[in-house]
Amino acid sequence: MSAYTSVKELLELSEKRGTPVWRTVQLMDCEEQGLSPEDSWNAMAGMLSVMRQTDRDYDRRHRSLSGLSGGDAGKMEDYIASGRALSGPLISSVIAGALRMGECNACMKRIVAAPTAGACGVLPAVLLPCAGRLGVPDERVIEALYVAAGIGSVIATRASISGAECGCQAEIGSASSMAAAALVHLLGGTGQDMANAAALALKALLGLVCDPVGGLVEVPCIKRNVLGALEAVAAAEMTMAGIRSRIPADEVFDAMRDVGEKMDASLRETGEGGLAGSPSALKQGEREV
């Protein structure tokens, strides 16, 4: 049983203990799991290094077993390099990073499920380029990962982080919410700011269904990582600009669960409804299976 089941409780705990949010998340988990803070920190540093390594090792020549994905991040990189990209360098690299990690996952490379394998591109796509741009040390990024994990565990407790249970809002939506809060940490925001960004990001992604073509974690998953990453950046920026969510994070999570419960089973990872049921997807299936 978690020591906190809401973001509100997490912030109160931080206040009471006089520790920053990331540290509260770390210490509460250590107490529960009987882990030393050093071991926990090293494990989290390991997560960051796997993210970095896989991002760096991306190979545009690789294709997934189904042949559905691979190479798109390379196209994005070329486009950015050509100087024609309309979005600035940061946003462009967020897009490329999300594609890279999503494709790496589809091509059976090592990834960090965050919170799931399908949504593994969101956090690194946001944190790696933003940390680079801000020039913050790795320690801050590791702290930000704890913030993300804290938000993620509240979502898992109150709602779900599984596409089969609550649709893609629970995977890409949760990842986006986690990444938004983590980015606020890099930007020096308060605990309230983190909660606000988490709320803003997930609000925008409520209702997103899980409709993977052929039941495979490829289409539309890879491009939805781009969506989740961009929304996370927007939510963090809006927060730092002083924009407040009218609905607090915990209530947004509860709303996500409500939407998930009302979502038809064909839109929850069964590979039947939505894009999975489109004529092109079905034609694809005939070729594959």
């Binding site: 589809a106 994990a149 974690v217």
Partner: protein
């Protein structure tokens, strides 16, 4: 929920249930057989059968049979590596009634000619559950220290086995006993709070009527 259940596991993609969980299924079969597996027949069911190929499920299971961890970058090349090691395998599909859609039934044989048949499923997040062992129903994950005792069903053997465990100061958290018919084959699955030492296995093996004792200590998966 644990922080590293949210951020993690580190795994080879693309799917925690169809790839990481499939590795774990292969791994638990390897641990149940003991030793080096030389032959395996793998039957995929439900969504493992229908979408497994695109998720690398077959390669993941074979990787697990060789003792690879879910984050091992050799998983995509497991078929080729199996051929080098002299592990032969074939795949088929099956229909399982009442089982989770992500399931497989694996018959594996080691270099000493010992065989195990196990059915296991991967409901999500990389977690797995064995639901059938050598034709008898079972339910365990190997996430906690687990002892599997195969025997003839003889009067009093359950208490003799549990007596050995208790005498070592090990706390049992769950005990399941399944048998074919009175006096037939039986499987006991005992989940414990502490790591199960080798001497417990030996002491149980010495009990009359016990045919095989397997220890599953988490964290000791690969070798």
């Amino acid at each position: 929920m644990n922080v590293f259940d949210i951020l993690g596991p580190v795994m080879v993609g693309p799917s925690s249930s169809h790839t990481a969980g499939a590795v774990r299924i292969g791994q638990i079969v390897r641990r149940l057989v003991g030793g080096e597996i030389v032959r395996a027949k793998i039957l995929l069911a439900g969504s493992f059968a229908s979408t497994g190929a695109g998720h690398g499920t077959p390669r993941a299971i074979v990787a697990g049979l060789m003792g690879f961890m879910p984050d091992d970058e050799r998983i995509p090349r497991s078929f080729e590596l199996a051929a080098e090691r002299g592990l032969t395998f074939d795949f088929g599909t099956t229909v399982l009634r009442g089982a989770h859609p992500n399931s497989a039934v694996i018959t594996a044989e080691n270099d000493r000619g010992e065989r195990v048949e196990a059915g296991a499923s991967s409901p999500g997040g990389g977690r797995i559950r064995v639901f059938e062992l050598d034709g008898l129903p079972a339910s365990f994950s190997g996430e906690v220290p687990t002892l599997i005792v195969r025997s003839e069903d003889r009067p009093g053997y359950v208490s003799r086995v549990t007596g050995v465990i208790a005498a070592q100061g090990i706390n049992m958290s769950k005990l399941q006993v399944e048998r074919e018919a009175r006096g037939g084959r039986a499987v006991m699955v005992i989940e414990c709070d502490q790591r199960i030492p080798y001497k417990v296995k030996m002491a149980i093996t010495a009990i009359e009527g016990i045919s095989k004792v397997t220890r599953l200590n988490p964290g000791e998966e690969s070798k």
